[in-house]
Symmetry: none
Subunit: 324 residues, 3 copies
């Protein structure tokens, strides 16, 4: 579809969140279709996880986004989908890869939302494809367990914060979940949640560096718990780490089922977003360093540095591999 | 994309206007891409006309709309695009043709919006394709001249109208044209206009028969004049004809360039929409007959009857042809 | 949240209606949460009234709106919420107060929408707070009775009106109430209604003075009757008064429950909006004087003048108090 002014920031760059939302919609369609391809209980595929994804090149207002999706692996209860996004300038014909994302879906019964159904297996053309898929499946399963632990954390307000401290840029927004945010099962689309997360992370980044910013990458996102129609969701973000030219922001999503339900507020999703700052000509700018004050902030900064160095090392290894 | 509650009426049927908007977006993308495929002045394709289209089967919330578009003819300054819409129930896998539409686009220069550029010719696989396309081109050109004449008409308000009269159901809405309604040239997308027209026509139909209604077909729509960002548009509809099971509604779009421009209000588009009334089970219901009072209303009723009988005759001829 | 191009007019000023909608959403969330804080029948808070509110400074595209809400008084069946809106330019860090609004909500049972539930009392830190709240409660109750009386009024169409007359700028729009416009109870959010009212009032103001206009204030708005999903609402506006630099517009909302219900069209809301005209540099411009023709128009002009002078006197008294 054609990118509109509302999909973009004031410099004309399409929000990462808009792209994440399109990716998730494509993934939900292909995996729901697949899971219903055999006779049996009807189901809706729910997003369980998005693997780390890089925004390779910016998309602009007026360009057309081409989204394609393919199922690359199925386990007994989950589907792996590979989604590619290309931006196309229909005036010049130029096409660029914007994103490659890997998403995991789980089929939930339309009659009983707590029942996970079985996934029809796909055919692999080569045995290696299945083995590699299985390896990716095991890896993400492990990673999901780990992130569950860091979820108790809360963002507390800071009074009169100094510029470039964590408290200075931290932000949150609340959103009342409406019908068009939801799937047939009455739960929020993963893509809607990711769009809100990107919006908050973008505000944190812009408050910190006071320039035009764009999403560079999103760390793996796990969707621990479903969010129901009628909930209020609070999306909060705080900066955790800065390198010379990038900022890492941690985002939490908490759901508050305040009507009709005895349940307490709960953590539904959390993730790390990385942003870069751009000059008016679209060149990366240096980023003001984050000032850490408390012990927790210092610890999170070191953890962020760890993730940053790990990603950098991985990317260099890939480039060397590609160069050979 | 997946159809959401916001795309549909309370009975769950997707608005005809939502489908028209998707059709037009697909047409605009393919024709803009084609017109820029050769080196030369960059341009944006503007919608000039949509041929008569039937809504063959209703689309529902949760279904996926598959839209495909193909260029079928090019004249020196215009492009004919054929767009097909299929609805897919991803739970059952069932697919149905919802719409087939033919649209005409004209390439306008990005630098000078009043300059119509030349269209790169397409290759035909058979000579007959070109001849048939040329015939369609000549026919629509003739028809566009004719409809220009009935454009002086205005909808006058009626005080305390009786039920089932023209004045009772006539309706109008105003809309301030925002940035996301517009193309790169700063003019309203044809699809946005059609969606508003369908909204008004649907309200006229529902006011008349006080039941759940759906769009059955749209007569050829000509886009006489562009509408600029910042205009206020008034979309007005009145019922012109009823058969036993259908209602014809005439819709006008007037643009009011009230800020910063000396120009007067002008008629930008006009068209006929046909609606049917549905029971809770989705079966067509009889429609209360339209009460015509003035000479003009009686004349328009007879003209509507003429269009109705002509369409019916055409459809029967097609069915006989298909049966042979 | 960040203000987008669609939230604003062509000069980049965010519509007053967008701000009113955000205010109402915050109020609805905090009061629904409060009313469900004690065990008992689940309920949804419905907007009953918004006190007069001034737009203190304009908000622009790209700025972040910070909305905070606090419960300041509870009667047996209603909740008073104070909402503050700040605009923040995240590039410069500059913050400005945009709005302070006071809203009254009433808890309606989720099971039986016609049942008003009891509100859990809040704790006051000082006895005076409770007394002042009670005084505000009594005042608004009185005012609601008064406004019910002027509600029989209808806006009649005028044929070929002269510029600057009431008939020349009066406008109306119709809107089919969709699922996203509604609360969990299936009734239109007060904020959605206010946004449409501001849209119509803005078009009336722009038609009158043909310049860029912004909302300066909104008089107290009473929500007499709920509006159900599937209704068609007609929002009509007419100018009632002009001072040298401001225009007052009266707006009516009528609901037409045309499907499935025997009920007649009814008046749901009415209110006065005040607009100012701005030059390209954002300075207030003189406004063309309203030409009144009928006795009713002259009477309404005098009443508007009364409200204008009263507000002016109040503001001067406040400024003197503040200066002491």
């Amino acid at each position: 579809r054609i990118m509109r002014p509302d999909d973009a920031n004031i410099a004309g760059n399409v929000h990462g969140g808009t792209i994440l939302k399109m990716i998730e919609e494509a993934g939900a369609i292909i995996s729901t279709r697949h899971c219903n391809s055999q006779a049996g209980e009807p189901c809706v595929a729910a997003l369980a996880r998005v693997e780390r994804t890089d925004f390779l090149s910016p998309m602009c207002i007026g360009e057309v986004a081409n989204v394609s999706a393919e199922i690359t692996y199925t386990s007994r209860h989950s589907v792996e989908v590979q989604v590619n996004v290309m931006s196309e300038n229909i005036l010049t014909g130029a096409k660029k890869v914007t994103n490659k994302a890997t998403l995991w879906y789980v089929p939930l019964s339309l009659k009983n939302v707590n029942k996970v159904l079985e996934v029809p297996p796909i055919q692999y053309t080569r045995k290696e494809q299945e083995d590699e898929g299985k390896k990716r499946y095991e890896e993400q399963k492990l990673d999901r367990l780990e992130t569950k632990q860091r979820n108790g954390d809360v963002i507390l307000p800071v009074i009169n914060p100094e510029p470039h401290t964590v408290g200075y840029s931290q932000s949150s927004l609340i959103h009342l979940v409406g019908p068009s945010d939801c799937t047939l099962l009455g739960f929020v689309h993963g893509g809607v949640t990711m769009k809100l997360m990107d919006e908050v992370a973008g505000i944190v980044a812009a408050r910190h560096c006071k320039t035009n910013i764009v999403t560079a990458s999103v760390d793996a996102i796990n969707f621990h718990e479903k969010i129901k129609k009628g909930c209020v969701i609070t999306v909060s973000g705080r900066m955790t780490f800065t390198s010379n030219k990038s900022m890492e922001i941690e985002v939490f999503v908490d759901a508050d089922p305040f009507v009709d339900e005895p349940r307490e507020r709960y953590r539904a999703v959390s993730a790390f977003f990385t942003y870069v700052s751009l000059s008016k000509e679209g060149k990366p700018l240096p980023v003001p360093q984050l000032l850490t004050e408390t012990e927790d902030e210092k610890r999170r900064f070191e953890e962020g540095k760890g993730r940053y160095l790990q990603t950098k090392a991985k990317r260099q290894a890939q480039m060397q591999q590609a160069a050979q």
